[in-house]
């Protein structure tokens, strides 16, 4: 028997085998200790190579800015800065790490990372629920292997079974999913082997097909009534589609069913730090604990499932009862509509098996690169023999500890931010590129990183106090022009072909989308994650047929623009003028429906549309970015000083203190005190402006636009 199997249907079997004694305390693992060992291993591995330049440790405030950006996805506020500075110098960094690790925004920030990794798309089938699901998994710190298993093995209805979003993302296509699973979870680009043996690696086409066979019965089903899609399901067929030899090779000859086989090696030997034994101990403890809890609550053993078990909040992903019930529903009520996939369950077990080193290494490498600006293996999803890791021992140590922690994602992040390596600065711009690169490869200096779009957006919002209105109500009355499509029924007159349409060219049978007006490119739909995750009962299937055939028909006719009595629906564009109190307020970009629409701030700053596997954030600057920063509503409103924000008292009125105001703004935007020279310069700016308030806005605008603001210190 494989060492560690804990999925739902196996829970029973596993429990029967394990007569493990209930443990009194869970095995613990300390990220601080792990971090120290990582530092030691890194310098040990570096000592074998020529010495590289060392960057200095970053200053306290630079560290705070970096840490806040990495753990909360934004710059720190003045309050956070003051709290940090009030702590004793020798412990303030550790305290800040502890605080920001526990901060709610941790989930927002890392949902962006997972959103890219898992290609979460709000508009895909069940995308909204999937986005909320991923966010919730991070919030509750669902073990990474548990999450992975749920994503790979999911079956059910899009939205209702939120995790089906992952497989449905690629229309449940077996070939696509094969490439996705190996690249996303194992950092290996096997998809080249779909059409030919991999050019620079050992993967063969046959191995690709064997892996694909796990998805051979996976099927996306549309439940339709009268052309209307009422539900999308992820189902399991009885026959596989994966046959060998491939169609292009078979040339009419008979093809045989490919037997599913996991091509990645499972390493049976335990590591030097006994990670396999340790995760077994941890999981044994968790299973025993879950069993005890179930006994106490009187639930049946059916309700036992894998996973953390530390938290039992309702709605928690590792909540035993809910998942077990969902699993039962799947079998009993909806068995016909979607069958659970035994093949994908097996695959999920293989992928997340602690002995599958590719799985743990890949995640560790990704998180390391996210925080350090460079991975041990680059690009992060290109593990292969001739692209070896720069520090194999360090990578393996961290990967093993990640396994031993029970794939605890927060443990992994904390272990990295607590290294002294993470506190290294960048080499100054004067150092020649080859030397800088050598140091960055050795992690004796860290590469400069730009904030990603979400962090930049939220940082501007924080610096400009835009999460809440900063102007009194009624002080921003503006006339807003908007365009809307209005449906008008018109009599058809076929005797007069070419009679003039009444309003421009808008007489199309489908309502054209209203084009985003003026500054909409910086707005976003905030997602109510709780609502998106609200599970409907298993009986929802019945509700889908609630609409009568006539109603559906009528709806269709409305949609096609054809009305019964010889009339047609035309859409005309109406211009609307409204006067609104445009008191600027922005929500966090990390909770927006993602990916944002094309042209949106986030997209301009590198967010991809997460459609294909090769898309990655483009961090190159562009003219469009510059235009957005120079003229956009976000930066300009962030710069404008509001009478309800703290700095206002320092710049206006009897108690005005220009020096203090300038320093305050520097701290709020740049997380540092200005130099004397900068204060003098700023004073001149304030003097030149029409009013000191305007001058302060000009200063803040320039700081937000500056290079220093964009780059993570």
């Amino acid at each position: 028997m494989k060492g560690l199997l804990f999925s739902i249907p196996l829970a029973l079997a596993t429990l029967a085998f394990l007569a493990s004694p209930a443990l009194s305390a869970p095995p613990t693992i300390d990220p601080g200790v792990t971090a120290k060992k990582v530092d030691a291993l890194l310098s040990q591995e570096n000592s074998a190579a020529p010495k590289t330049l060392d960057a200095e440790v970053v200053s306290d405030l630079a560290f705070l800015r970096r840490l806040t950006l990495d753990l909360s996805g934004r710059i720190p506020s003045e309050t956070e800065i003051q709290k940090y500075l009030a702590a004793p110098a020798d412990s303030r960094r550790a305290k800040a790490i502890a605080e920001f690790m526990g901060n709610d925004q941790f989930a927002d920030r890392w949902a962006v990372f997972f959103g890219d990794l898992l290609r979460v798309r709000y508009n895909a089938d069940g995308g909204a629920a999937f986005q909320a699901f991923v966010h919730e998994a991070i919030r509750t710190n669902t073990p990474y292997d548990v999450l992975t298993r749920r994503l790979i093995a999911a079956s059910g209805r899009a939205n209702t079974q939120a995790e089906t979003g992952f497989v449905l993302n690629d229309e449940a296509d077996a070939m696509a999913l094969t490439g996705v699973v190996s690249q996303v979870f194992m950092g290996v680009r096997i998809s080249c082997a779909q059409c030919h043996n991999h050019p620079f690696d050992t993967w063969t086409r046959e191995q690709f097909y064997q892996l694909a066979a796990f998805f051979g019965k996976t099927q996306r089903v549309e439940h339709r009534v009268k052309m209307q899609i009422l539900g999308i399901f992820l189902n399991e067929r009885t026959e596989t589609t994966i046959l060998w030899p491939p169609e292009d090779k078979a040339q009419g000859k008979p093809r045989t069913v490919v037997k599913a086989k996991f091509p990645f090696e499972l390493d049976e030997t335990d590591g030097p730090n006994k990670h396999l034994a340790r995760i077994k101990e941890l999981r044994d403890f968790q299973t025993a604990e879950a069993k005890a809890r179930a006994a106490k609550a009187g639930t049946s053993v059916d309700d036992l499932i894998e996973g953390g078990g530390k938290v039992t909040n309702k709605g928690d992903l590792s909540d035993v009862t809910e998942e077990a019930n969902a699993a039962r529903r799947k079998i009993d009520l909806q068995g016909d509509l979607y069958r659970a996939s035994e093949l994908r369950r097996q695959l999920a077990e293989f992928v997340t098996d602690p002995r599958n080193r590719s799985y743990s290494r890949s995640m560790v490498n990704r998180v390391w690169a996210e925080l350090m600006g460079r991975g041990f293996v680059n690009q992060v999803d290109d593990f292969r023999n001739d692209n070896p890791p720069s520090h194999p021992k360090t990578l393996d140590f961290l990967a093993d500890e990640f396994v031993a922690s029970g794939f605890d994602f927060r443990f992994l992040v904390e272990s990295i931010v607590r290294t002294s390596t993470y506190q290294r600065g960048h080499l100054p711009g004067t150092i020649a590129a080859p030397e800088r690169l050598a140091a960055e490869k050795a992690f004796t200096a860290l590469p400069t990183r730009r904030m990603n779009g979400e962090a930049l957006f939220d940082s501007i919002v924080v610096a400009g106090h835009l999460f809440k209105p900063k102007h009194p109500p009624g002080s921003n009355m503006t006339t807003v022009l908007s365009y809307t499509q209005v449906a008008v029924a018109v009599k058809e007159d076929l005797s007069k072909p070419g009679s003039k349409p009444k309003a421009g060219d808008t007489a199309m049978p489908a309502p054209p989308k209203v084009v985003a007006g003026a500054y909409d490119l910086e707005r976003g739909i905030e997602v109510d994650f709780k609502k998106a995750l609200k599970k409907n009962d298993g009986l929802e299937v019945d509700q889908m047929t609630a609409k009568s055939a006539e109603e559906l028909e009528a709806e269709m006719m409305m949609k096609s623009g054809r009305m019964p009595a010889g009339t047609r629906v035309r859409y005309i564009t109406k211009e609307l003028k409204t006067i609104v109190d445009d008191n600027p307020q922005f929500a966090s970009s990390m909770r927006m429906a993602s990916p944002a629409p094309t042209g949106h701030f986030l997209r301009v700053f590198g967010q991809t549309d997460r459609a294909t596997l090769d898309e990655r954030r483009d961090h190159n600057p562009s003219m469009r970015q510059a235009l957005m920063m120079l003229n956009g509503k976000l930066t300009n409103e962030a710069a404008r000083v509001g009478s309800l924000e703290p700095v206002y008292k320092l710049i206006s009125g009897a108690k005005a203190d220009v020096d203090a105001a300038i320093k305050f703004v520097y701290r709020e935007t740049m997380t540092r005190e200005p130099t004397a020279d900068e204060v003098a310069d700023a004073k001149a700016i304030l003097k030149e402006a029409a009013t000191p308030v305007d001058g302060l806005a000009d200063l803040r605008w320039a700081l937000l636009n500056s290079n220093e603001f964009r780059f993570i210190p």
Binding site: N378, G504, V604, T612, R624, A702
Partner: protein, 422 residues
């Protein structure tokens, strides 16, 4: 005289290029190492492209490939054009007069009847894949040809253009929502104005200079280039091109008082200022029911605009170097369905070319008697792309590297349609 600046790759951070060259790969960057290829570049016959994208699948029979006397013809009659022997649909009376500039292709052999996949293929030449985002033809053009003048090299009007994929975001189209709508991002907010805005730029310059030295110039150079280009654009007199309403009323009238008319006019004005590639998007061709009144409506909107555009460009001489293309993702079923509509039909459909070296007054290829299949000279989708590239002097077989270091041809195995050109 238009000044030449870098193509859309000018923002590439050189250090990344260096790292890429040294290490072969680099985290998440678009490194483009070009694979040299034997074969000569053809001389360009076109400098600009205006692509009309008709989303939804435009009926070939009801536009450029009428089947007079057949049951499939439906309500719309064919009409004569200014070129003897060529007939098009009655919905294009003005366009018919410009036939001497126009080449029609009636034998595109598509392979995809799904909107998404077919659109992807018609716009990129490649089949959709979950591994790779292929660039649209506009991105290919601006990645290979230098930017002319101050305006963005690639502009899309009234809808989104395909993505630039592995060519990188700087080769993506500049989006204009509605023709004539002032893009608020091209000027300081009105509350700030030019004077204060310029002052702000001076302050920004000082602050960035003070910070210099802490960041590698290789990192900041790209940002500076982007900033300079943005300011240059904001101050450029060429921006006037966007203000379509400055045209005389009679000109506006000729193009038709419609969004599409103004889009065509905007396209002309943009090309006059040096814009390489303009894509004008319009939907509503997915006429599953009641197809004929809908196509008449389309004609009313498109006919004056297209005709006026060709006429104006011909008169100013710009038609010689401006290629006009009108594409849709597929045609529609010759058989008229029970709701007097037509459904998706990729097996054969038509498109229109004019200008930029195109030999007008001709029809290339044909469909069979009912417009079901290509009869002669079947044209692959990628041949269209190869022909557009070729007109611009771009070697469509040139290979570029994707971020995953996979060499990809600019066009998916297309061949130039030689007879399209004079």
């Amino acid at each position: 005289m238009l000044s030449e600046s870098n193509g859309c790759r000018g923002y590439r951070v050189s250090r990344r290029g260096f790292v890429g060259a040294a290490a072969g790969t680099f985290l998440g960057m678009n490194i483009r190492s070009l694979v040299a290829r034997a074969g000569e570049d053809r001389k360009a016959t076109a400098e600009h492209v205006i692509l009309f994208w008709n989303g939804g699948g435009m009926s070939h029979i009801d536009t450029f490939d009428p089947k007079p006397g057949r049951d499939v013809q439906g309500d719309l009659e064919p009409i004569k054009t200014s070129v003897a022997g060529i007939q098009i649909s009655e919905i294009f009376p003005e366009l018919a007069k410009q036939m001497k500039h126009i080449a029609l292709i009636r034998s595109i052999a598509g392979t995809n009847g799904d909107h998404g996949r077919a659109t992807y293929q018609l716009q990129t030449s490649y089949g959709q894949s979950s591994n790779l985002q292929h660039p649209g033809v506009g991105s290919v053009v601006v990645s290979e040809r230098k930017t002319l003048g101050d305006l963005p090299a690639y502009v899309t009007v009234g809808g989104l253009a395909p993505k630039a994929g592995y060519l990188g975001q700087s080769c993506e189209a500049y989006f204009v929502g509605r023709p004539g709508e002032k893009d608020p991002y091209l000027a300081f907010p009105s509350a700030i104005g030019d004077v204060r805005g310029s002052k702000r730029l001076d302050i920004l310059k000082r602050i960035n200079e003070k910070q210099a030295g802490t960041l590698p110039t290789t990192e900041t150079a790209g940002t500076q280039t982007a900033l300079n280009d943005a300011v240059r654009l904001m101050r450029s007199p060429a921006l006037e091109a966007f203000e379509v309403r400055k045209e005389k009323p009679e000109v506006l009238e000729r193009y038709g008082d419609s969004e599409f008319g103004r889009s065509a006019l905007l396209a002309r004005r943009l090309v006059e200022k040096g814009v390489r590639f303009v894509q004008v998007n319009r939907g509503g061709f997915d006429v599953h029911s009641n197809a004929f009144p809908a196509m008449r409506d389309h004609g009313e909107v498109m006919d004056p605009a297209l005709a006026a555009l060709i006429e104006d460009l011909a008169q100013s001489g710009l038609l010689k170097k401006t290629m006009i293309v009108m594409l849709s993702e597929f045609g529609r079923t010759p058989k008229i369905n029970l709701t007097t509509g037509r459904d998706h039909w990729p097996s054969v459909f038509s498109c229109m070319f004019a200008g930029g070296g195109v030999k007008g007054g001709q029809v290339i290829g044909s469909s069979d008697e009912d417009g079901m299949k290509p009869k002669d000279r079947p044209v692959k989708v990628s041949h269209l792309h190869a022909s557009i590239c070729s007109a611009l002097g771009i070697d469509h077989e040139k290979e570029v590297m994707t971020p995953l270091q996979r060499p990809m041809k600019l066009v998916d195995n297309g061949k130039r349609i030689d007879e399209l050109f004079s």
